[in-house]
């Protein structure tokens, strides 16, 4: 009996000693030390003070080559395109570079805000291009290519000259020329902590008033009639029973009487369509090979919608296979489609689906 008690005590004491020695014994057996190569592979962030920036360099000239091959399809040759994403370049001046404030941001009539108008830290450009670009193949650029593309963008915005070679050695000098480097503030009450200073008091101080609080309300803004059905038929976006039903926005608001609303019927307003398995398979391939990044099924993105192609090339399966493989320009617009290297079987399935009408 007493021998058993001693044994238990010994175990308890040993456990206690272990607890002091190693912090992780709080949850023994959980987690392990990351190897240096694991950390190196994933720890890719670059901070505004350039902590994390790998050594290297890249020229504006090299950047232009990379840009035209991998970036221009979405962002335009000069970073000006608004087709897929907001424009990157434009709206900054030599005066902005001097002052570190982009004057156009003060103008409410200035159309659009480009990336270079907004960004204060050049590290952000480098970090984001490195981690997330190109759009359909993120993390495939070499360190030199990331430096080069960053340099090319800075050159487009007249921040560095044509013959510039951006590197970890001179990037701090570029930071000192960023057009909106002095355009940020953390003097607000919307950071949930005290790490950034900030202010305690919120922006607004509305009061709880219950009676005769304001003059009579006036309607100052509402949706114009032409936008009535712009978000689709609202009747089909509400439950078929309930205290209120959705209004039929395919019809103009009637001059007399209530607008049409869905009353309960024996069938749902949105009838289930029979499943189109061929379209489903084609759609999966379009996603897998990132075709859908540039082509919508029934809308133009960078290139034409598949319905637009189907209309023009109905039944021409062999032609479509060759165009997917070779790429092209000029049939639907001036933005080139690069040559694609997907498996033959997938190419054929996609071409067949388009040639038959690109149905959903």
């Amino acid at each position: 009996m007493s021998r058993f008690r001693d044994a238990v005590l010994t175990v308890v004491l040993l456990a206690a000693a272990g607890g002091v020695a190693a912090q992780s014994s709080l949850f023994p057996g959980i987690g392990r030390t990351a190897t240096p190569s694991e950390v190196a592979k994933w720890d890719i962030d670059v901070r505004p003070d350039f902590k994390g920036l790998p050594a290297g360099s890249g020229s504006v000239a090299k950047g232009q080559d990379v840009w035209e091959a991998k970036c221009a399809q979405c962002h335009g040759v000069f970073g000006e395109s608004n087709e897929v994403f907001s424009p990157l370049i434009g709206g900054t001046t030599a005066e902005d570079i001097k002052k570190g404030r982009v004057a156009n941001l003060q103008r409410s009539d200035y159309p659009g805000r480009t990336t270079l108008m907004k960004v204060a830290t050049v590290s952000t450009l480098w970090d984001y291009i490195n981690r997330a670009m190109p759009w359909t193949n993120p993390k495939t650029l070499t360190t030199e290519e990331v430096y080069a593309v960053t340099a090319f963008m800075l050159n487009l915005a007249n921040i560095v000259p044509d013959n510039y070679v951006l590197s970890d050695k001179n990037i701090a000098e570029v930071q000192a020329r960023m057009p909106n480097r002095n355009g940020m503030t953390t003097a607000h009450a919307m950071w949930p902590g005290n790490e950034l200073g900030g202010v305690k008091k919120p922006d607004t101080a509305n009061k709880i008033c219950m009676k005769d609080c304001t003059p009579e309300a006036k309607v100052a803004s509402f949706l114009p009639d032409f936008a009535r059905n712009a978000h689709g038929n609202l009747q089909e976006q509400n439950r078929i029973v309930g205290p209120q039903l959705g209004v039929d926005t395919t019809q103009p608001e009637p001059k007399v009487g209530r607008p049409l609303a869905a009353a309960a019927t024996s069938a749902p307003v949105v009838a289930a369509k029979p499943e189109n398995t061929e379209a489903k398979a084609a759609m999966a391939l379009l996603n897998k090979h990132s075709c859908s990044a540039c082509h919508g099924v029934d809308k133009r993105i960078v290139g034409p919608g598949f319905n637009e192609i189907a209309k023009k090339q109905s039944g021409k399966m062999d032609y479509l296979v060759s165009k997917i493989k070779a790429g092209g320009v000029g049939v639907y617009g001036q933005i080139p489609m690069p040559a694609q290297s997907l498996p033959d079987a997938d190419t054929k399935k996609i071409a067949e689906w388009i040639s038959k009408g690109a149905s959903k």
Binding site: Y128, D203, I208, K211, E216, P243, L245, T249, A263
Partner: protein, 454 residues
Amino acid sequence: MNANSVSSGRVQKAPESFLTPSSIKEIFAEGKKGRRDFIRNAFAAAAAGAAAPMAMAQSNPVPAEGGDPNILNLPEHTTGLGQGVAVEGYGKPSKFEANLQRRQSPGLTQTTQASVSFAPLQSLFGIVTPSGLHFERHHQGWWDIDPSKHRFMINGMVKKNMVFTMDEIMRLPSVSRFHFIECGANTAVDWGNVAVPTVQYTHGMISCSEFTGVPLITLLELAGADLKNGKFVLAEGGDGSSMTRTIPMSLITSGEVIVAYGQNGEMLRPENGYPLRLVVPGVQGVSWVKYLRRVEVGDKPYGAKDEAIHYMDLQPDGTHRQYTNLQEIKSVVTTPSGGQVLLDKGFYNITGLAWSGKGKVKRVDVSTDGGRNWRQARLETPVLSKALSRFNLDWVWDGKPAIIQSRAQDETGHVQPTYQQLRAVRGTRSIYHNNAIQSWLVQENGEVKNVQVS
């Protein structure tokens, strides 16, 4: 079908007079001229015409045949044999609920992979968002990731860089908490003027779930993080965008920030970050990094793309507010709301949602006259910190035009602002953090529209 047809016991009675689009236009024009009493007069004139012939409508009358055929003729489901168990291994909503879908706002984005879809708030009950209707925001497309191959890394200002498997994370002590997640750009399109018709598109970038996971502080302590000098934590996703955001250490040491794998009793949905996402209560959704692969402890903020190019609030003087993370006190009436029709006069339950990134909702008031007079709404239980709260208020509609608003206050005393108050400080170009009071105009003809009042 026309407006007078009888269906399912509901009568839609046509009023003799109501506000036409042209009369609304007139109101708009008069409103711009600043005639304060114009809208009431216009509404009163319209109401006068309707008053005589429009008795209180009977919404569920006895049909001429002496009874409702839905009662008199027993349906097949009453007289036949129903379906067996496990026909659906994972059950789906009724086919009659097909109208409830998360939807894109046409023209808002050019791609579907860097885009948003909005939750159908107009048709939801209580405070929990069904996981399949949770709003979506993807930056470079979504993935369905094999959880057995997913890893979570901690590095930076720690004694030991560490790696965890999902198995290991799920072995640790877990917590389950209800929190709302709201995109910082929710209600962005209405900053300047009314731009979209329904509450799905004005406020649908918010959802609320019960999240289950491990407090991040537990994992940081395991790695021996420097909690004194490490004031900031970078969270990073494992998808193509590898989204990064800076998280305040004070929020982590409070125990609130969770490394979550569970959502409403099941695993996270792929669109919401399966198998692992960060939960940062009270903070805008972009910080709730999905497919979470790594956190790094550091002594300075990181200036990531979504805190140095996007998710910055442009102020009237051309300055951008950076690191604006908090979602302040906000509320919205979900029914009646834009795009709906009130079929009859009589009793209605005004219902809606309120929330604050700074704690619990303390009270909600509702106005039916555009903010002139208010009544306090009932807050339903549970009322939880940094979660959606449901409010209700009894209302008898007299058939006259009404402008419905809700105004919430949180436990810090902060009261939801009007558009005028908000714009006086932030202008109209902020994009992010529009928490102004929403107005729904109930027209005399029963149709509800999104409006802003002055």
